[in-house]
Symmetry: C2
């Protein structure tokens, strides 16, 4: 599979389905526009799927894990061993993403995109698409090779296509990787031409010294690697991560099959920025689930032109915000499908 | 039942349950505080219910309808006949509140608190607690008598207690009543000592002339009636509505039984302002579901000291925002109940 071929398959939104959905919204028994962003979302979903009344039944959250050489710079409040520990927690169902996915009726697909070492999974449920054993330390050189970057995106596409073949109506993105707000902030700095101080935040909760180390590591990574902002693969390779590449692939793969992607927080948004750099038409298929409490996320969403659905001060990742967002997308579709029209209900329309 | 007796039953939040919930949140496998407002909500719910791990299973939305004499001033974009038409739509399950309540697994209880005329309900599901046949035109005199105000609150309390006796773990509030953003704005003006221009909005979608009529009607209502801002019953009687009084009662009744109330948008917030005027300790039991697109709602929430969970530009009422908020409250409880602790999952805590 060639990446360019998949990207070429991404079509514009279906304008006639959107128009029909808009007209239907205006016939339903409520003042026009009174369901605000739920109405807008239903119209976007009509455009994505090409159906006037889209349905969201099979919901999947793809949570991708990877490790980061830059963790050696002391950029995280947690030790790197937490990446595999949390992956096992996902597989046993004890993490926040499991609880929230169950709440909204979504499946969770857990993928090892490149933890530091092999994860001993007794459940047999872990999807293994390792592009390496953690990235190299981007503060000293490229995080990965261009080939690894391509491979991670390709894996993400394949996983998305496989889940869509199984029936997925919407894909949520999630991440796990100690240190991964650092490469995500670096990606945003490159693509937005911003300084690390403006984008980097406290991630899982580092102190002031840790934040200084993080900003310094990003600054050195940009200086050493000089990523080319016009080349998404170059940015991913030099200052990205394996799970970030995987999420880029999920977004591109979903868009190529006219499926919506509910993007989680900071890391997923960095992936989205690379996805739209590679494939600008991908953007229309993305929905921003929430505004993260992490510094800079607000600007990243603005750069993408995405308005988040939720603003709950979440900063966990894993796909937790995406799970809640998926429930809103499902609600938006149900409004189109389940509400009576003025005629059907015998309700008088606006005077 | 005496109103004062119910109000006296409202207890402060259970601080020890809140502390235990806070400690449990900090043991769960996630960075401390990383679930943001979901964590805060879970702690509030622990304080409300007195349980370290509260559960929300039986979810009820109480949608109360009433008509408003002030509709004669041309303050709404829809004719008054829409009130009973929409009540019948609720009872048949075709309205937005029905769709969203089904989505979140909540029951809807529909109450006629005082539509202009009797509603012919074939389903037998309509709860009838009519305090009158629509209010009088508040622009010309009091909307109702003090006795009717008391009666509407008492009805709301009784309905809340009945639903709690049936097992309700959380009550959402909703409203239907052509013209009811006008009395709601009037209530806010009185209690916040504000001018109508600052609070009144376009409701279901009136034009510029309609907005002028609305502001004028509110100004005349305040001038003619001179409601006493220190006396919640006086404010409700002079510039309120029957469904607003009912919602005041639902809030007070729920608080008296240590049950959370998910308050919907503009009308429910006006009811909440009267509820806390009558019973300040009621406030801790209230959760603001969303920030309405309606003018002034933001200030009303600020006056109450409530921060809305959602900001989706909703302006429909019926309890639609409350339904979505209830799903978040349920998610917050499930986080406390369903996540593994660091010890249980063998995950290393922060360094």
């Amino acid at each position: 599979m060639m990446l360019d071929e998949v990207i070429e398959q991404i079509q514009p939104l279906d304008q006639s389905a959107m128009q029909a959905a808009r007209e239907r919204q205006n016939m339903l028994t409520k003042p026009r526009g009174s369901l605000g962003r739920l109405e807008e979302l239903s119209i976007q979903l009509a455009g994505i799927t090409g159906r006037t009344i889209p349905t969201i039944q099979d919901k999947v959250i793809i949570t991708m894990a990877g490790d980061h050489g830059v963790a050696a710079e002391g950029v995280s409040a947690f030790p790197q061993e937490v990446t595999p520990q949390m992956v096992l927690n996902f597989l046993r169902g004890g993490a926040a993403i499991n609880v929230l996915a169950r709440h909204v009726g979504a499946r969770v697909v857990v993928v090892d995109m490149g933890a530091a070492s092999e994860i001993q999974d007794a459940s047999g449920k872990l999807v293994r698409r390792r592009a390496g054993s953690g990235t190299a330390n981007m503060a000293k050189g490229p995080a990965m090779t261009r080939e690894q970057a391509t491979e991670s995106i390709r894996s993400g596409i394949e996983i998305a296509l496989a889940e869509i073949a199984r029936g997925a109506d919407i894909l949520g993105t999630g991440d796990m990787g100690i240190g991964n707000t650092t490469p995500s902030a670096a990606i945003a700095c490159v693509l937005m031409n911003q300084i690390p101080e403006k984008i980097a935040g406290r991630g899982t909760g580092i102190d002031d010294d840790g934040l200084k180390r993080k900003i310094s590591a990003i600054a050195r990574a940009l200086d050493v690697n000089k990523p080319n902002a016009k080349d998404g693969l170059d940015v991913l390779a030099k200052v990205g991560g394996f799970e970030i590449g995987g999420l880029v692939g999920v977004m591109i793969g979903a868009a190529s099959k006219r499926k919506p992607v509910m993007a989680d927080g900071f890391i997923s948004t960095a992936a989205a920025m690379i996805a739209v750099t590679l494939a600008p038409q991908c953007k229309d298929y993305l929905i921003a689930a929430h505004r993260s409490k992490e510094n800079g996320h607000h600007w990243m969403l603005e750069w993408l032109g995405l308005k988040p659905l939720l603003d709950l001060d979440l900063r966990l990742g894993e796909g937790t915000g995406a799970a809640l967002g998926i429930s809103l997308a499902e609600a938006a579709c149900k409004i189109l499908a389940g509400m009576a029209t003025f005629d059907e209900a015998g309700v008088s329309d606006k005077e």
